[in-house]
């Protein structure tokens, strides 16, 4: 039920691998803390890998938006990688598909960040 996070660096891009559920409470808080931690460490190119995120609620969607704006306000970029169908559909319904830069291929996603 809970969410797990881990980070790795690929060509100057910080990839945050998430798995599980991003929902009100633990999942949303973990995502918020993880992104805040990356921002505080100076990460400006962040790729959220959502391949293993099987569920997200409105709170989790809001947290993705907050992460996006927080990174952008610091002069950075946050992109999304490998959405599951459910997450994809939710971002489409809420029109957030037009806000996020969403990638399916990790190498292409990493290469797409401004150097």
């Amino acid at each position: 039920m809970t969410m797990k996070t881990s980070t790795r660096q690929v060509d100057g891009v910080t990839i945050l691998d998430l798995s599980g559920r991003i929902t009100l409470g633990e999942g949303s808080v973990q995502l918020r803390d993880a992104v805040r931690d990356l921002i505080s460490k100076g990460s400006k190119r962040i790729l959220l890998n959502l391949a293993e995120v099987n569920y997200i609620d409105s709170s989790g969607i809001g947290e993705l938006v907050s992460a996006f704006t927080s990174v952008r306000n610091q002069g950075g970029e946050l992109k999304l990688l490998k959405l599951t169908k459910k997450v994809h559909d939710l971002l489409q319904i809420t029109k957030l598909y037009t806000v996020f830069d969403i990638k399916d291929d990790e190498a292409a996603a990493v290469a797409s960040f401004a150097k």
């Binding site: 039920m1 929902t23 009100l24 409470g25 609620d57 409105s58 709170s59 969607i61 809001g62 947290e63 938006v65 907050s66 996006f68 704006t69 459910k86 939710l90 319904i93 809420t94 029109k95 957030l96 037009t98 806000v99």
Partner: protein, 146 residues
């Protein structure tokens, strides 16, 4: 604690995230048992979760003295789910469309929108105190019993 009369189940629960998860799981099980397809089960369980979050978070504000109630009914033609809180009430005239440019980057305000997107009918009732949301999913093919 659940009481069952015919095909109607009612739960009275604390104002906690654990209750939200329990109500969501109950919705998923009842939707599956009713024979809804995978997408419809997801829609019902998510809508019910969002309604329960509203009840616990915005309605009762995690007040330990206040309860939420969730009732599930399979009428044979539809699933009717009611989620009620004992909070200060919800002013639906204040609800905004989260898809508009001024709201698109908001960190909240998508719960009711998702509920309305996923259910066939959504009704709001003021309870004095509290709010009751009625969520209805019509069956498009013959359902199974609860």
């Amino acid at each position: 604690m659940a009481d069952s009369i015919a095909s109607r189940y009612t739960y009275t629960l604390d104002s906690s995230l654990e209750s939200v998860n329990r109500v969501e799981q109950a919705a998923e099980q009842i939707a599956q048992k009713a024979g809804l397809n995978e997408d419809a089960v997801f829609q019902v369980s998510m809508a019910v979760r969002e309604a329960a979050v509203n009840a616990v978070l915005h309605g009762n504000a995690y007040d330990a003295q206040k309860k939420i109630t969730a009732s599930f009914e399979n009428t044979g033609n539809a699933l009717i789910i009611r989620i009620a809180d004992q909070g200060k009430g919800l002013d639906i005239t204040q609800l905004t469309d989260p898809r508009t440019p001024e709201n698109l980057l908001s960190g909240s305000g998508r719960g009711i929108f998702l509920i309305r997107s996923f259910m066939d009918e959504v009704h709001f009732k003021q309870l004095h105190p509290g709010t009751e949301l009625t969520l209805i999913k019509h069956f498009t093919s013959a359902p199974r019993g609860m």
